[in-house]
């Protein structure tokens, strides 16, 4: 007999509302149903009614942790519409902040991941070290979390030599700490027991389900937007794309730990080879973009982030579309959570597997209509919603 357990929409592993309906037999999971539609915020619509410069501040608030990636993606998108390109120094500064926020995101994830495995001590340690990165972000950009650093045509402020000195010291500290953590992760038997062989996602399944980012690289597939489509001078900076071929939760931890080392090296290279010159183009705050469409991709800490916009020649986008990495990765959770022949998933593995994709639900909500009486759920299109809202309006009148 199977027994249904609701993980969410309120659950301690997640601060965000995500619903997983698990059907379990004893401790084994046999079926799972994912629902992310608790936190629809209408940001895409809100972007369509604002001038481009205001959209920049809105787009940063899609996700607090990958705010640098979102604003970078938005700026690239609008610059592409305008047919302009940021100066070389701005590109390097963007890389510095992007990689720094990747370090911050990965440290946050690592800490939270060990918290979900019940390893509170490592959680505290990771978050303590993350605080140093946050301080650096604050020194460089002026803000701790929502950095508001990228702007259309460049970045908002330059990097001073004093800040650069401090940044280098922080990088040394982070590198040393990460070496220690890597040793801990490789030698601690309870961590190995909880992660190795858990949540296996085969490379073929990963490609079929459209998985992106570190999650895909942990399945052994070399895919990184920074390498495939260098968007901000990434072709000038040498870096390795980290992959791991065990395809389990352990691989996800290893990939992120090793990526932090890569980020540190990239920032060092960018600081060493920083071009001189302007750090932003002079673009008036309110402008009209020529008609056309534009697509930009950025490797956010969680994976490939896609922004797409259509301009009709006015001062605001006609349509703006955001595809966040979590939405791409969520499907794989369902795949990983189902027990099959020779592959057993326990209730205790749910946090490990769900945490493994680094979920960020607030970026991913879609409208889903639940019909409890008929036990049916359907995803609605924009047209459907417009039609329903008009019909309702007619009824009320």
């Amino acid at each position: 007999m199977s027994f249904e357990i609701p993980i969410g929409p309120q659950h301690p592993i997640h601060v965000e509302p995500l619903m997983l309906r698990l059907s379990v037999e004893g401790e084994l999971i046999v079926d799972v149903d994912v629902d992310v539609s608790y936190i629809h915020r209408g940001i895409e619509k809100a972007l369509e009614v604002r001038p481009y410069i205001q959209g920049l501040y809105l787009v940063e608030r899609i996700c607090g942790i990958c705010n640098a990636a979102h604003s970078l993606c938005y700026c690239l998108n609008v610059e592409q519409l305008l047919g302009k390109e940021a100066p070389p120094r701005a590109k390097y500064l963007r890389i510095v902040v992007e990689e720094l926020s990747r370090i911050h995101s990965h440290l946050l994830w690592l800490g939270h991941y060990f918290h979900t495995l019940g390893f509170e001590t490592l959680f505290m340690y990771f978050w303590r070290d993350r605080e140093r990165v946050m301080d650096m972000l604050e020194l460089i950009t002026g803000n701790r979390v929502t950095t508001a650093y990228n702007t259309i045509g460049g970045v908002r402020r330059d990097l001073t030599p004093e800040v650069e000195q401090k940044l280098r010291r922080t990088l040394d500290y982070i590198e040393e700490r990460m070496r220690y953590y890597e040793k801990v992760i490789d030698s601690e038997p309870t961590i190995l027991a909880r992660t190795q062989g858990v949540g296996i996602l085969k490379p073929s399944d990963a490609v079929r389900l459209g998985v992106v980012g570190p999650h895909l690289r942990a399945s052994g597939i070399k895919h990184d937007v920074r390498l495939d489509d260098p968007y901000s001078g990434h072709d000038e900076i040498p870096f390795n794309v980290i992959t791991w071929d065990t395809c389990d939760c352990y691989a996800r931890v290893k990939v992120r730990v090793k990526e932090v080392h890569e980020c540190v090296n990239m920032i060092r290279y960018a600081l060493d080879h920083m071009p001189s010159g302007d750090y932003r183009l002079k673009i008036p705050p309110f402008f009209k973009a020529p008609p056309g469409e534009s697509l930009s991709r950025v490797e956010a800490p969680r994976g490939e982030l896609v922004h797409y916009s259509i301009s009709d020649g006015s001062d605001r986008p006609y349509r703006y579309r955001v595809r966040t990495p979590t939405l791409a990765n969520l499907l794989s959770v369902v795949e990983m959570l189902k027990s099959r022949d020779g592959y057993e998933v326990y209730i205790a593995d749910v946090p490990a597997i769900l945490g493994g994709i680094d979920p960020c639900i607030c970026c991913s909500a879609r409208v889903v209509v639940a019909d409890e009486a008929r036990r049916r759920r359907t995803v609605m299109t924009l047209d459907d919603i417009i039609r329903i809202s008009r019909d309702r309006g007619v009824e009320r009148r």
Partner: protein, 321 residues
């Protein structure tokens, strides 16, 4: 007779035990926080010493809710039973003298039995609250009992064999006569097994499987709130003093130590508390060092490693004797 009743109620009985158990919770929390590079409780009272008391009083003042689906009898009875059982088991600890308030030949068996009944109470508490998470937690608690109970019993029994007595007081006296703590020698393995299985008995990391916050919210205690939760927390604190005291009494020589004439009754208590604090520090260190295991891994570990080790220890103890 009247002396005995006063001892049971005040010192070293209920009132003293309750005060010390809250102090032990503070020590546990503070040490755990320091191991994690945190500050820990520091607001209520000097060094946050009154934080557990404040938490307890706060919980007592909360609204008392019984879910409609819950079994009212079990829901009311189990918190009382849990705290009463652990308090009763603490009476066997030799705090104010070489023997506890209650002491007879074979009382070690009674303590072990009370520990098992405590886990059964937890099981009933989980199932009685009729919640999905709670019943999974309760089942995990019962499953875990199968894993750790036998190693725990065997580790205590091998100490009893080495001391030649089945009572806590007898083991303490045997150590005093021998002039050496039992932990010196082969019983150090027994102490290690005791520490690991106590961690499972108290449902602490790496064996906090029945109440794994990130998996099943709070497991068996998810529906409990207010004064019921306060009583459960109290029973956990009492369990902390019970198991660290038991470890101190059986492996570290209990309240026996160098004697200053005239101060003996006081010194007994001081030695007991110092030694049990050492055991508590070890418990806390273990809690800070590991991630949570999965229930099948826990069973695997205790039946594959802990059990054979405990049996070997028993044989070794017999051979040495």
């Amino acid at each position: 007779m009247i002396e005995k009743i006063l001892a049971t109620i005040f010192f070293p009985g209920a009132v003293f035990l309750l005060a010390v158990s809250l102090f032990y919770e503070w020590v546990d929390r503070k040490l755990y926080a320091r191991f994690q590079n945190r500050v820990g409780p520091h607001l209520a009272g000097p060094f946050g010493l009154l934080q557990p008391v404040a938490d307890f009083i706060k919980l007592l003042s909360k609204e008392d809710i019984v879910p409609m689906a819950a079994d009212r009898l079990l829901f009311t009875l189990t918190p009382i039973l849990a705290s009463a059982l652990t308090l009763f088991a603490c009476m066997f600890l030799p705090i104010a003298g070489p023997t506890g308030i209650i002491s007879f030949e074979g009382d070690l068996i009674v303590v072990i039995a009370l520990l098992s009944i405590y886990t059964i109470t937890v099981y009933l508490a989980g199932e009685g609250s009729n919640n999905r998470f709670a019943s999974i937690g309760a089942e995990r608690a019962a499953l875990q009992l199968i894993g750790y109970e036998i190693p725990l019993t065997l580790s205590l029994l091998s100490a009893a064999i080495a001391a030649g007595s089945l009572s806590v007081g007898g083991i303490v006296e045997a150590q005093a006569e021998r002039g050496l703590w039992l932990i010196v020698g082969p019983q150090s393995i027994g102490f290690a097994i005791f520490v690991i299985s106590s961690q499972a008995e108290m449902k602490r990391i790496p064996f906090d499987i029945p109440e794994a916050e990130q998996e099943i919210v709070a497991g068996w205690e998810v529906e409990y709130g207010g004064r019921r939760l306060a009583l459960f927390r109290l029973s956990k604190d009492l369990e902390l003093i019970l198991l660290s005291g038991l470890g101190a009494a059986i492996f570290l020589g209990g309240p026996i130590g160098p004697v200053i004439p005239g101060l003996e009754p006081m010194l007994y208590t001081i030695y007991f508390i110092l030694k049990s604090l050492i055991v508590l520090a070890i418990f806390t260190l273990v809690r800070a060092l590991f991630a949570r295991l999965r229930i099948d891994q826990m069973e695997f570990f205790s039946w594959k490693y802990l059990m054979p080790l405990a049996v070997i220890l028993i044989i070794l103890t017999e051979v040495i004797l």
